[in-house]
Amino acid sequence: MESDIENRPTAQAKGLLPIDIERIKADFPILDQKIGDHQLVYLDNAASTQKPRVVINAILEFYRKYNANIHRGLHYLSEKATAMYEHTREHTASFIGGVQPKEVIFTGGTTGAINLVAYTWGEENISEGDEIVISEMEHHANLVPWVILAKKKNAVLKRIPVTPDGYLDLTNIDTIITQKTKLLAVTHMSNVLGTINPVEALAKKAHAVGAVVLIDGAQAAPHMPIDVKAIDADFYCLSAHKMLGPTGVGVLYGKAELLDAMPPFNLGGEMIREVRFDKVTWADLPNKFEGGTPNIADVVAFDSALHYLEELGMDNIRQHEMDLTAYTLDQLSAIPGLEIQGPRNSNQRGGAISFTDSDIHPHDISTFLDSKGIAIRAGHHCAQPLMKIMGKVATARASLYIYNNEQDVDALVKALGEMRRYFGL
């Protein structure tokens, strides 16, 4: 493999701030612990990231000082809680590229966001013979809802294939995205291969045939600057827990005119304008899609996660991860018996790195690494069709984030070397 570490400008040369990893690590209390005899090395960030002290404190503070239901009470706490909740909405709107706050819908996660679109927009707009285009590298969250919708509506599910080196194969894209395409639903960054997909170009193609574009941003939003307007995404989905925020919070961004035209999803309190026994009218955006009491405390704490990321700078984060990904790919490719999946060029990928060993099953890899305090993920990563295409039953995956450094990678590499000896290879 060719290394792109040496000949790429470093963060300093680009005028970015170098990230001080030691200082960052200190912000994450959970990282300061031993698993058995070994210092914890957390490399399972594509599954979920750890939380900095500011986020943990924000949750505590909310319950200590401001807890009340929102949009309802005419008392101090309720007004305060409502303002904090709505502040996170505004913050999220600016974080993803300066959209209108009412275009930001809070959900339980990316899965919740995509299902919302499938059951409302999809239900109304997909009919027999229509085509839904996805890619072969989708997470089940951006796959199962469309498989089911296509079945129900007698619509056709079409796939953009994946090349052996882990890119979307766009050779025949003009026969895949056609006049019949009603929806293009693709991931911005693969959780298995790390690939960053050309979503802007794909969106342009889809829009040219009048299709709607949904981007699964669960893996991209935590790791690079996101501008949904530049992508021209109609829908963009993300999960707070993968970007330093709490679990149970996700975001559905949707263009206002689309959201306005969609029927509501969770019917009940908070999402109505007027209810009579014979007639109900819906509330305006965003409340129309937030029926019931939402995850107030965690949405409020998500604001602190966004602040933390912005303070580091998403460009800096991306640069740090490109550097560390290049280093990791270099180190891993020197280990005999190891096969790395996905693009080799760190400019075109994020830090989710899947690999397999010629002899040792990914679950044994994961259990062995765990005994050295190293947390990775092993399995099909909720992408069973992709695994089949790759010809694997499962992979091991190390995934990087801002608090990881070369020492973490070195610990991984050292342990993988010991592993082969342990299993007698």
């Binding site: 099953h361 679950h363 044994d364 259990t367 062995f368 005994s371 399995g379 099909h380 039953v393 299993f423």
Partner: protein, 158 residues
């Protein structure tokens, strides 16, 4: 991690993993059953020939982790030449043992005790279980005389 690594990967387990028994195909089989663990991707194919009421030969091909391979290899080694009733009882005992019950395994089956180590690794229990539940399913079909066994599919929550 809740158990020590050597508890799970005991020497005997690694020995079976590196040289699995029962790989050799067999000519005729009266019991044929497949096992699949979608969460891990483990797949196994089991064939048993029964002579009267005794297990004459076993073929087991398992593609999976060290635990599932070792467990199926031990199964092949243990059941060959035994009466079917005894085999059934043993499989039930192993299943109970893996699920955490205290069981007394027959004397000549000491090796199987090594599988106990997975009990401290909750997500790996089904790896050890796969071969045994696949065998039980195969025997059930054989006894009913209804042809094909259904493929055993261990659920993520099993």
């Amino acid at each position: 991690m809740s158990g020590s690594l050597d508890d799970m990967y005991r020497d005997i387990i690694l020995d079976h993993y590196k040289a699995p028994r029962g790989k050799k195909p067999i000519e005729e089989a009266n019991i044929a059953s497949d096992g699949h663990n979608p969460a891990c991707g483990d797949e196994l194919e089991l064939k048993v020939s029964v002579d009267g009421s005794t297990v004459r030969d076993v073929h087991i091909n398992c593609k999976g982790c060290a635990i599932s391979v070792a467990s199926s290899s031990m199964l092949a080694e243990q059941i060959k030449g035994k009466p079917l009733e005894e085999v059934k009882g043993l499989a039930e005992q192993v299943r109970k043992m893996l699920k955490g019950e205290n069981v007394q395994l027959p004397e000549d089956t000491d090796d199987l005790d090594a599988l106990k180590g997975v009990r401290n690794f909750p997500v790996r229990i089904k790896c050890a279980l796969l071969a045994w539940v696949t065998l039980l399913e195969g025997i059930k079909t054989f006894e009913k005389g209804t042809g094909e066994s259904k493929t055993i599919n261990l659920e993520e929550t099993d």
